[in-house]
Amino acid sequence: MIPRPFAYHAPDSIGAAIALLSDFGDQAKLLAGGHSLLPMMKLRFAAPEHLIDLRRIKGIRGIDMQGDEISIGAMTTEREILASPLLAMHLPLLVETARQIADPQVRYKGTIGGDIAHGDPGNDHPAVMLALDARFVLVGPHGERVVPAADFFLGTYVTAIEPDEVMTQVRISKPAVGSGACYAKLKRKTGDFATAAAAVVLRMDRGICADIAIALTNVAPTAMRAEAAENALRGRPVEDAAIAEAGDLAMAACEPAADLRGDEAYKRAMAGQMVRRALRTALSRCTG
């Protein structure tokens, strides 16, 4: 549990961080909360020669709302998300998600940006970001670009971030009034990754599903949208049979890998169960 030797950098600006990234290339790793990276380094699965700590950079931490757009600095911790009155009012799905991540010690250090940028399908934010159609602000030597969540997750530990880019902000449009959402996660214990989890954002219009997003955690190489399930629900009443069918369609779409949490059949079945659980709860939260 001792990492290989590395150099530690703590730049005080995004520009300085990008300059370090440009200098060291793939020898460098960015350090946010560190709760994924540091264990991998201690196990010597990861051995970056340079660690660039983002903690001193101002302006990439905190939660704000302009119009209907909520912005969250990439270095905002899970604890800050949990404690945010703004999010509790306008985006309770994110609060519900953060509450199910790891344990209090990890939530004091772990950040939303780190959770997303790590590209781990077992992390909880990626599916929620997909369900919310979030956008990520990436800053590199040639300026800033905004990448939608749908284009971001390319493979396990592989994302659209270039080696010389830093994620600075997450942008989310406030869900429509009257919509309901839920993140349902099955885990073995506190601190565990999901056996399967589902994020649902649902808008109802006079008893009919007007809009729906369903995304899944840890049942495929990346977080994924369950589009067939969404299509089956859109334009229909969300009744027991439809909920059951959506679960079945989500099960058919996922490609889980067996581990000690369960075999493929169990994880697939649990993806279906979590979709159903999240759908029922989201529906109960809809006021439209």
């Binding site: 073995r188 214990k189 056996t195 000690l260």
Partner: protein
């Protein structure tokens, strides 16, 4: 105990000041722990100290073709890289185990389990050591692996222990196969077989108690410091048995025990993991002797979970014979015990299956026979008692599961079948069919108290209603255990470790001001000895607990004792504490009589003083007596006021309990919620109710962890899976159910204060209770057993097999 009847109301102030037996006194240990002022072994820093890291085998079974340490030795800051070749001149490359086997300290030509110790790097600090460890190049030639104990006993199974070639007799008798360790039998086989042949009803059930690990918060470790000038060796070690460690180190090193000092500082939990001697200790000591510098070795979590002392791995087949009313006539048990690659079980020497023969439980079973075979596999060694007396958890699991299987077969209620089979109160002391003498018990009122507290009939009615409703999203299960433990090892006539009887000890010195220091051969790892031992002395010698200092764990100051495991501290050392207190009291009586110029026979002990019979105003307090002990004693008496007692118990003690669990199994996911858990314990005399409550909460929580999540599975290549806390289940407050506790008091007739020990009952008793509850949820569907751990995945597979998942 006490000579005169007391009037607690009149003496309340003095009683409260004593804080003696029965007082819910706060733990004296806690201020330093909750303020971060504990001293654990990794807090020991000595000038010039080096750090050692173990290099371990990635393979479960392989021949070592070569080890190249040259690069590592050349790495700046590295002081030594030890291999078996380096230890051979000192004859330290193998070591004896507590079970009469030998274990490789560093692999001698081959490895037989994954993560086996191969080389030991010693460097300036742990960072350099970790870097250098990567530079040691070991060339392996893989051998076929066997992880299944049944396959290990096949004729053509791979030979795990080349070093035992030709040895067809082991420490416990004949070996009938190259991977066989021992066969141990107890009971009357012929009578038992005849009882089965004649029985109206028989049941049989296979069950595995899976391989688990005690997983204390603090992993194992030591700091070894050899002073070449003085020729003495000091080892700080996180050990549950420091005196035994001293004897083992003496045997291994040829250093006389008088030159060896073992210090167990504060210990972050033991639960059986810290009884044995591990290769890391030997290599740290050897490195310190070779280098003349202190050497620290501390396990990582993964090393702890995969190399030092697992528990259980018992493959059991139980059979019961009964009449049609469910009255048990006989018990027959066969066990295949997977001991891993070396037999390093920590049992009393004569008992290769520990106290497994308590498996007739709380029931009056006239005939029983047990046969246990120990087997080598390519898995790490151990077989320790994880918060239980030796193999008692396995025994209790077997009988408490079997009686449920019998109840299901006969359609008898699971509480009723227990009531029909309990050993009646008037049969105590009870001689069991497997040769144990139960000291005391009163089982029926205990179970009835629990049934009344939870309204058992209403629970069964609710369960029946739920079973009748096919749309019910849950299955409801009710589990009962009425267990009897055997603790307090043990009488030296039957129990020893390496030839040393399993007594324990206490030494008390009363200072001139009436305060006292007491030292024992045990060592607290969370049990609260500093608090409870002082309470025994307070009541038995009249010295307030608040002025009694309790010290343990330093072999240079404490009297020899066998340590703390198997719930033996209170039954054995606690008795020594009481008896040493009585010796103090008897000397105090004579001094008081001398001071008051009366005959000692005319004095009577009264809480914290001696007074003249019939003239209570004439009295001398223990404080006054203590002062006089240093300046005014009767002619011919030695000065001072101190006593020592080595207590060899006449028998074990037999705590018991009645537990009931209610669980709801979610059909959708296999998740199980423990809705209710009611634990009634009878540990005899209760010394500190608050500490007992804490012990029971801790033990129930550990039992919950074992039943619902802990396991160390292996794949076919011998890779141990789940060796980190990501997979290995340690429950937090979030998962832990609410515990309800209760008690009855049935004192031990042979213990000086009637105490029996309690720490392990909740672990031993709760695990089968959880299993019984989970299986009861499926009982109406014909299920008689499902394996542990009852995690959601395994439970869902059971639901799927019954076609009721989702």
């Amino acid at each position: 105990m006490n000579e005169i009847a007391r009037d607690p109301a009149a003496d309340l102030g003095r009683l409260e000041r004593l804080e003696g037996i029965g007082c819910a006194r706060k733990r004296r240990e806690d201020p330093r722990f909750i303020q971060g002022r504990g001293t654990y072994v990794d807090d020991i820093h000595l000038p010039g100290m080096l750090f050692g890291i173990m290099i371990r085998s990635p393979y479960a079974h392989a021949r070592i073709k070569s080890i190249d340490t040259s690069r590592a030795k050349a790495h700046p800051g590295v002081h030594a890289v030890l291999t078996a070749e380096d230890l051979k001149p000192f004859k330290l490359h193998w070591m004896p185990t507590l079970a009469g086997d030998v274990q490789a300290v560093l692999a001698d030509g081959k490895v037989s389990f994954q993560n086996q110790e191969v080389a030991f790097v010693v460097a300036e600090d742990r960072y350099i050591a970790a870097d250098a460890a990567e530079m040691v190049e070991v060339e392996y030639e893989e051998l076929p692996v066997v992880v299944d104990p049944f396959k290990a006993m096949l004729p053509d199974a791979p030979v795990i222990r080349d070093d035992l070639a030709g040895k067809d007799v082991g420490a416990h008798g004949a070996r009938r196969h190259h991977n066989h360790i021992f066969n141990w039998q107890i009971g009357d086989r012929d009578r038992t077989d005849r009882a089965f042949d004649a029985a109206a009803v028989t049941v049989s059930q296979d069950m595995l108690y899976p391989r688990v690990h005690p997983c204390p918060l603090e992993t194992c470790g030591c700091v070894a410091s050899y002073d070449a000038v003085r020729g003495d060796l000091t080892v700080w070690i996180t050990s549950q048995a420091p005196h035994v460690v001293r004897t083992v180190v003496g045997l291994l090193s040829s250093i006389p025990e008088s030159k060896i000092r073992i210090i167990s500082p504060d210990i972050g939990g033991g639960f059986g993991n810290k009884v044995g001697v591990y290769p890391g200790y030997v290599t740290a000591i050897a490195a310190s002797i070779v280098l003349g510098r202190p050497v620290k070795w501390i396990e990582s979590r993964n090393e702890n979970l995969t190399t030092t002392a697992f528990a259980r791995d018992y493959w059991m087949t139980g059979e019961l014979a009964a009449d049609t009313d469910g009255r048990i006539k006989a018990l027959r048990v066969k066990v295949l015990a997977d001991h891993g690659a070396f037999d390093a079980c920590a049992d009393p020497t004569k008992w290769p299956a520990g106290m497994f023969h308590v498996c007739t439980g709380s029931y009056d079973i006239a005939n029983a026979h047990v046969s246990v075979d120990g087997v080598y596999t390519n898995k790490f060694p151990g077989g320790v008692s994880y918060r239980c007396s030796f193999r008692v958890t396995e025994a209790v699991y077997l009988i408490e599961r079997m009686i449920d299987v019998l109840a299901q077969k006969l359609g008898i209620d699971k509480a009723e079948i227990r009531l029909r089979n309990f050993i009646p109160k008037d049969k105590f002391p009870y001689h069991s069919a497997l040769g144990l003498d139960y000291d005391s018990g009163d089982y029926t009122p205990a179970l009835q108290k629990v049934m009344k507290a939870v309204d058992y009939d209403a629970l069964r009615a609710e369960q029946a209603a739920k079973r009748a409703d096919p749309d019910c999203p849950t299955l409801m299960g009710i589990g009962i255990t009425t267990f009897t433990e055997i603790v307090g090892a043990g009488p030296s006539k039957s129990c020893d470790i390496l030839g040393i009887g399993m007594f324990d000890s206490c030494e008390i010195r009363v200072h001139p001001d009436g305060s006292a220091i007491a030292r024992m051969g045990t060592i607290s790892q969370g049990q609260g000895h500093q608090t409870t031992y002082a309470q025994i002395i307070a009541t038995e010698a009249g010295i307030p607990a608040s002025v009694i200092q309790v010290e343990e764990g330093d072999t240079s100051t404490a009297p020899y004792g066998l340590g703390t495991y198997g719930s033996r501290s209170t039954p054995v050392a606690g008795a020594a504490v009481a008896r040493a207190s009585h010796k103090i009291r008897e000397k105090a009586r004579k001094i008081a009589a001398h001071l008051l110029e009366v005959s000692p026979d005319d004095m009577e002990f009264d809480l914290d003083q001696f007074r003249v019979k019939g003239d209570p105003a004439r009295a001398k307090s223990m404080k006054e007596i203590a002062w006089a002990a240093y300046n005014n004693v009767p002619e011919g008496m030695e000065m001072g006021l101190e006593a020592v007692d080595y207590y060899d118990p006449p028998n074990f003690t037999f705590p018991f309990g009645a537990y009931l669990a209610v669980v709801d199994v979610l059909k959708a996911t296999g998740e199980i919620k423990v809705r209710r858990f009611y634990a009634l314990d009878d540990c005899g005399t209760r010394i500190n109710p608050m500490i007992i409550e804490g012990q029971i909460h801790g033990g129930l929580t550990e039992g919950f962890a074992v039943a619902f999540g802990q396991e160390l599975p292996y794949d076919e290549q011998g890779n141990v899976l789940g060796g980190t806390l990501m997979d290995y289940f340690l429950p937090t407050a979030v998962e832990t159910p609410h515990w309800e506790t209760d008690f009855t008091v049935t004192p031990s007739p042979h213990h000086p204060i009637g105490a029996k020990g309690v720490a392990e009952s909740p672990h031993v008793g709760s695990i089968p209770c959880f299993s019984n509850a989970v299986i009861d949820a499926f009982a109406h569907l014909g299920v008689t057993h499902t394996g542990m751990p009852h995690n959601a995945y395994r439970t869902w597979q059971q639901l799927l097999a019954l076609n009721i998942a989702g």
